[in-house]
């Protein structure tokens, strides 16, 4: 799966509610907490906040975030640190981008992009052209472990 040239997670979702309502569900702590995790979000660039959930498996239950971009009603970007990593001091630094667009019938097309990789990282380079053609050996290897 790693070799699908898709080292970010993209989810498109059509919601029956209008963008303004979805925006609230993404930016108000209580609403966001209802469907995602307990948090102290604020749609303000530079705001640092944390998601909390019961620890599970290798995950310590905490996600550290910082708001990077806010376009009220249409775009929200924040960092997403940790999450699935073991708490060994080297947490994953990723970015979550939400975009909202009006859909037919007054609904919302919500797009989530979870970038897993920094531009200097392997994963990001794998998205680039040509990597897969020369990465055949790794491809075979990964097929065996994923």
């Amino acid at each position: 799966m790693l070799m699908q040239g898709n080292e970010q997670i993209v989810v498109d979702y059509v919601l029956a509610a209008p963008p303004a309502k979805v925006w609230r569900a993404l930016t108000e702590p209580e609403l966001l907490g209802t469907w995602l995790m307990q948090n102290d979000i604020a749609p303000v660039v530079g705001h640092k906040f944390t998601f909390h959930a019961p620890p599970r498996g290798d995950w310590n239950g905490t996600v550290d975030c910082e708001v990077l971009e806010v376009v009220p009603g249409s775009k929200l970007v924040y960092t997403w640190g940790g999450g699935s990593a073991k708490d060994d001091g080297h947490k994953m630094e990723t970015t979550v981008t939400w975009t909202l667009a009006p859909a037919a019938d007054g609904g919302t097309l919500l797009k989530l992009v979870h970038h897993g990789f920094h531009p200097d990282d392997f994963g990001f380079k794998m998205m680039g052209q040509g990597w897969r053609s020369k990465g055949a050996a790794i491809e075979r290897v990964l097929a065996g472990i994923s």
Binding site: A16, A17, L31, T34, W35, A85, D121, A137, I138
Partner: protein, 108 residues
Amino acid sequence: MQVELMRALGDGTRLAIFERLCAREHTVGELKTHFDVSQPAVSQHLGVLKRCGLVRERRAGRFAHYRARPEGLRPMVQWLTHYRQFWPEKLEALSAMLKEMPDVDAGK
């Protein structure tokens, strides 16, 4: 661990070394012939890959033989697997919540 892992392979030379070592075992000298870098530089790259668990070393006489340790990539694969499941589940929950939520005008 993942960050180190991905930074390690983010370097073009290291990635190329890792690819070669996925195919078969090499000594530092053998690796050097394929790259336009000094032998100490190759050793340094191997050190980084080793620390990340991406390469293993086997000593035989005067030579050290290196080969890839592909299972070292597992944390990255696990990360993707986890979130590919996580987000669709959460968006289902969002959709359900929105249905219960009063209209935006009725809110604040």
